[in-house]
């Protein structure tokens, strides 16, 4: 039995009311007086040199205040120190359809849109690269001059003795798997509002304040400083409510810098909000990934060696690419015991929007390949797929062959849970034809053990201030993006201080007020900001306890703080006021409401002359502590321990984490053999989150992850034609609606991590990766075809079914094939959002006939 009063209980998020009433403010809901609207001109070419930009006609339009181009902010930046290859607006070259070229700030959206049309840009089109395997052969017209063969980064890792591993194997499986590109499609389009204050001493533009939909306010502050050439101390980044991120807001998106540059040029506040189509171009999603995987096993399914080659279609800029390609290799480890690993990873540049971090960063597509191949091995060796996973379990505490330290490991129980609940033993392989079950596992980091900015600073810091009113104010840089980080912080602090959660106010993600936190990505907040909050609260508690101990004439060890009361452990609370906890509702307790009066804590304080007490209210204890120690504040910070920071090999810094979450899933599907349509009936998902601090939030995160994996498994896909996105809308980019979403049963497994706050680990990402292979394995169980390319659309499933029967493939996309009549293709194109999007570019194959001699592609 756990003895907690706040954590471990499901509570509504602390900001829930603002969300359900519409009162909560997201960035686009904000406005300032005199605010201008910014609109961005995007490139219609996938790859071209900018010969000339003429903004004079746009500037002359009545109502236009400023027009900016790349020359106004030429400093390169990027989220990774090794990848400073972006500029807010294109300088010299555009590298994808949708690349940012110029921005207009005007008094209305309509005027800004009209002005955009008046900007004259002269381009010199260059050959463009759309396929990563072609792009790797490029010799000339490189996307970035300093990246030969358009390879952003390649890594070649060998751990253990690979030759021996494969020599020891009884069976070796080999295969190529492809996972197509997906994007976050967070409901809130990116938005930024920037405003400069005038400096009273110089009379010129002074401090900059930026409100932005970001997961990483501190990184934004840093990159703004770099591009605007202003000290970080003069820049304040405030994160209002964020309408979902999933990684898409975990780096600096061009509009965030463009808004600030435009505000500087216009000398007025500027707000830019992307249209949905622009959000698709901003992208930074999960790259199309080609995985060549080879696994050697003994006859009982135990793995002897794994060789994995990964090619990622990274798009036109580095973004998080170097980290993504490293995660893909590093997280081959830490799930199962693999004695020998070889990994070759290639992050390749192409003329498409940059890919970046997306939920399950780097692990998802490789996990799809890996878990699919395990299923193939089980089928080949006639083993139970669940049993194959069980014989390959790690034996923690351990350090994997590639240097990942694993302490808590709830995977065995996760597998047991889903196997039991799904009726796996009784039903697997015995369901009617067309219906099947599949199992798969996954894991994810609880934050990266090494910061992307190389430094020894803490990854999270939390400050707490308590005043005489008994109000607890927590300052954290951690970014609430809907995952519940503010609630988690409040819970941890309330638990440590033994006060009610209503008493705790969280002030988050405002770089002027809150201490540095790296932000909300790689599932780091609960573990790292949670630990920092725990330590800050413990520091404050020590002062309260010592003052209370004096007042109650006992030792600090004897003082208990819980549920808003402070008492001596030798007594019980009920002896002093048996009805106290019942009679005071939360509101009364929080503000010291006694006998019809609202009293300040200081008035409640009993004079010392009354002699020692045995019980105090939280307010009394706080007042005693302030009287005794002075101001009551505490600070806690967290940096991952050295032991968790991984191996010394090149690239070894990515992958290590202080703790890993584990997930096992069983999916039940049916397949319509006539149409190839896959229906998922139910998914059982067990997730080891260490300890569930707020079970309803954990379930929400796990179900949300599984559901997002389901989308990638069945229907989500970014469809490209020569660098032009065919489906840049929420209807065309098909994420599952409630009608297509199956029941997802979430089972929380608590392994209690020794280093997590109260034993907690991550919950928000780890489950996603298992869903895709669980579904593909279930499809195999249902109809005996192996889907090696995601998503498993009716077209692909039907093609596999027909191939199995030796029948010809039906080309369902014939009507959108470039050689088909043009009229049919227009439907999926970008023209429908005229004025806000790029024109169909002249190099588009549909226009090839009219545009002689346009060199396209990196070779056939």
């Amino acid at each position: 039995m756990n003895d907690f009063s706040v954590i471990g209980k499901s509570i509504a998020m602390v900001d829930a009311a603002g969300k359900t009433t519409g009162a909560g403010k997201y960035t686009d809901d904000l406005s300032l007086s005199g605010m201008l609207v910014g609109k961005i001109l995007h490139s219609p070419y996938p790859h071209a040199r900018i010969k000339q930009i003429d903004v004079s006609r746009a500037k002359a339009l009545d109502g236009v205040v400023a027009v900016i181009t790349g020359a106004d902010a030429p400093n390169p930046y990027g989220i990774l120190p090794v990848g400073h290859d972006e500029t807010a607006l294109a300088v010299e070259k555009v590298r994808y359809v949708g690349d940012h070229v110029a921005c207009v700030a005007a008094i209305s959206e309509e005027i800004a849109e009209n002005a955009i049309e008046l900007i004259d840009v002269e381009y010199e089109p260059l050959p463009a690269y759309f396929d990563p395997e072609d792009s790797m052969k490029a010799e000339s017209d490189l996307i970035h001059e300093n990246r030969p063969h358009n390879i952003e980064k390649d890594y070649h890792h060998v751990f253990g003795d690979l030759d021996k591993g494969f020599a020891d194997a009884d069976y070796i499986a080999e295969g190529r798997y492809i996972a197509n590109e997906v994007t976050h499609a967070a409901m809130e389009p990116h938005s930024t509002l920037a405003n400069f204050e005038l400096d009273p001493h110089t009379g010129k533009l002074g401090r900059l304040t930026v409100w932005s939909s970001t997961q990483v306010p501190y990184y934004l502050q840093h990159k703004l400083s770099l591009v605007l050439e202003m000290p970080m101390s003069q820049i304040r980044v405030i994160k209002p409510l964020v309408g979902g991120g999933f990684g898409g807001k975990s780096e600096i998106i061009p509009l965030e810098i463009i808004a600030a540059v435009a505000a500087r040029a216009a000398r007025a506040p500027v707000k830019i909000t992307y249209t949905r189509e622009e959000v698709f171009w901003a992208h930074r999603g999960r790259p199309r990934t080609i995985i060549d995987l080879k696994t050697g096993v003994k006859n009982d399914g135990r793995m002897t060696a794994v060789a994995c080659k990964v090619i990622q279609d990274g798009g036109a800029y580095c973004s998080y690419g170097v980290v993504t390609i490293l995660y893909s290799g590093a997280l081959l480890g830490a799930l199962y015991d693999i004695p020998n690993i070889r990994y070759d990873g290639y992050r390749v540049l192409t003329n498409k929007p940059a890919c970046g971090a997306m939920r399950g960063h780097g692990t998802v597509n490789v996990r799809f390949a890996f878990e699919s191949q395990m299923d193939e091995i089980a089928a080949k060796l006639n083993l139970d797929p669940a049993a194959v996973r069980r014989v390959n379990l790690l034996k923690p505490p351990t350090v994997t062959v590639n240097g990942l330290r694993v302490l808590s490991y709830g995977l065995p129980e996760c597998i047991d849970q889903v196997v039991t609940r799904s009726g796996w033993k009784e039903r697997k392989g015995k369901l009617p034809k067309g219906r099947g079950l599949g199992v798969a596992c996954s894991h994810y980091v609880s934050g990266a053990a090494n910061s992307i900015i190389r430094s020894d600073m803490p990854h999270s810091t939390v400050n707490i201030k308590i005043d005489r009113d008994g109000g607890v104010v927590v300052y954290t840089g951690a970014s609430e993006i809907g995952q519940g980080s503010d609630t988690m912080t409040a819970q941890v602090v309330a638990e440590v201080l033994g006060c009610e959660i209503a008493r705790v106010k969280v002030i988050a993600a405002d770089t002027d007020l809150t201490p540095i936190d790296l932000g909300s990505y790689s599932s780091r907040v609960t573990f790292m900001a949670g630990n920092a909050a725990l330590r800050a609260a413990e520091q404050v508690k020590k002062n309260i306890v010592s003052a209370a101990a004096k007042r109650m004439n006992c030792t600090p060890d004897d003082v208990i703080m819980r549920d808003g009361h402070v008492w001596k452990s030798s007594t019980t609370l009920s002896e002093y006021n048996p009805t106290l906890s019942d009679s005071l509702d939360e509101h009364e307790a929080a503000c010291g409401h006694v006998d019809g009066q609202i009293l300040r804590g200081s008035v409640l304080q009993t004079p010392k002359e009354e002699g020692p007490k045995d019980h105090m209210s939280f307010e009394e204890a706080v007042v005693a502590a302030i009287d005794f120690h002075g101001a009551l504040t505490g600070t806690g910070s967290y940096a991952p321990p050295v032991a968790a920071r991984g191996g010394k090999h090149k690239g070894g810094g990515v992958g290590p984490s202080p703790a890993y979450s584990y997930s096992a899933q069983v999916a039940e599907v049916s397949v319509d053999e006539e149409t190839g349509e896959v229906t998922v009936h139910k998914i059982w998902a067990a997730h080891d989150c260490g300890r569930a601090l707020n079970p309803v939030a954990v379930e929400g995160q796990v179900i949300g992850s599984v559901w997002m994996g389901l989308g990638q498994a069945l229907e989500e896909e970014m469809v490209w034609k020569d660098g032009l996105l065919m489906n840049p809308g929420l209807l065309e980019y098909r994420s599952p609606s409630s009608a297509e979403s199956p029941e997802i049963e979430c089972i929380i497994v608590e392994s209690i991590d020794p280093e997590g706050p109260f034993g907690a680990k991550e919950a928000g990402e780890g489950s996603l990766a298992a869903t895709i292979p669980a579904i593909s394995n279930a499809i195999y169980d249902a109809v005996g075809v192996r889907l090696r390319e995601a998503p498993f659309t009716p077209e692909r499933v039907l093609a596999a079914l027909r191939a199995k029967k030796g029948m010809k493939r039906i080309e369902m996309t014939e009507s959108v094939d470039p050689t088909a009549p043009r009229k049919l293709r227009e439907h999926g194109g970008s023209l429908w959002f005229r004025g806000k999007g790029p024109m169909r570019h002249p190099l588009d194959p549909a226009r090839r006939g009219t545009n002689a001699g346009s060199p396209m592609g990196g070779g056939e």
Partner: protein
């Protein structure tokens, strides 16, 4: 563009507004009246984040001309709160995790309220179908069903006394 004067009834109050004839209802709500609860997320009536009710029927404000709404009773999410407190549905969405990032939530509030007003005991299938007009990227919808189910059950518990009274 020349402005014209129209009168709209929004959340029980009349507003006289001078607007361009091409002004969208969503822009009018968000920019002119500061009712920012209705959200713009897809621009093209794909996602339901801008859902408002026109005479009790859910409609998408992002593709509706404001000038065409004269004479109808418009309700936005700001008009949902129950005498200044959270409506049961709003409370339940918080308790059961029906809202994560919250951006789609106002739209869901308007859709679900319409569902419950027209069907006091919808089946799971009916709830799924009703909600399919709105997109959410966080929750996978599961916890929304729990919230809606809780509201329905609370209503049903309260209902018998009303029926006695009615007799």
């Amino acid at each position: 563009m020349k402005k014209e004067l129209i009168e709209l009834r929004i959340n029980g109050r009349a507003h006289e507004l001078a607007i361009e004839s091409n002004k969208l209802l969503l822009d009018l709500l968000r920019q002119d009246l500061g009712l920012t609860g209705s959200k713009r997320a897809c621009d093209d009536s794909s996602c339901g984040s801008c859902t408002v009710q026109m005479d009790g029927v859910p409609m998408l404000a992002c593709t509706m001309l404001a000038a065409s709404c004269e004479g109808q009773e418009i309700t936005t999410v700001e008009g949902l709160a129950d005498h200044g407190g959270l409506a049961a549905l709003q409370k339940a969405y918080g308790d059961f995790g029906g809202a994560q990032c919250g951006f789609c939530t106002p739209g869901f509030m308007m859709t679900v309220r319409w569902l419950l007003a027209n069907n006091s005991d919808p089946s799971e299938q009916e709830i799924r179908e009703a909600l399919s007009s709105n997109l959410c990227r966080c929750t996978g919808y599961s916890q929304m069903y729990q919230a809606i189910r809780a509201v329905i059950e609370a209503e049903q518990k309260a209902a018998p006394t009303e029926m006695v009274g009615a007799k």
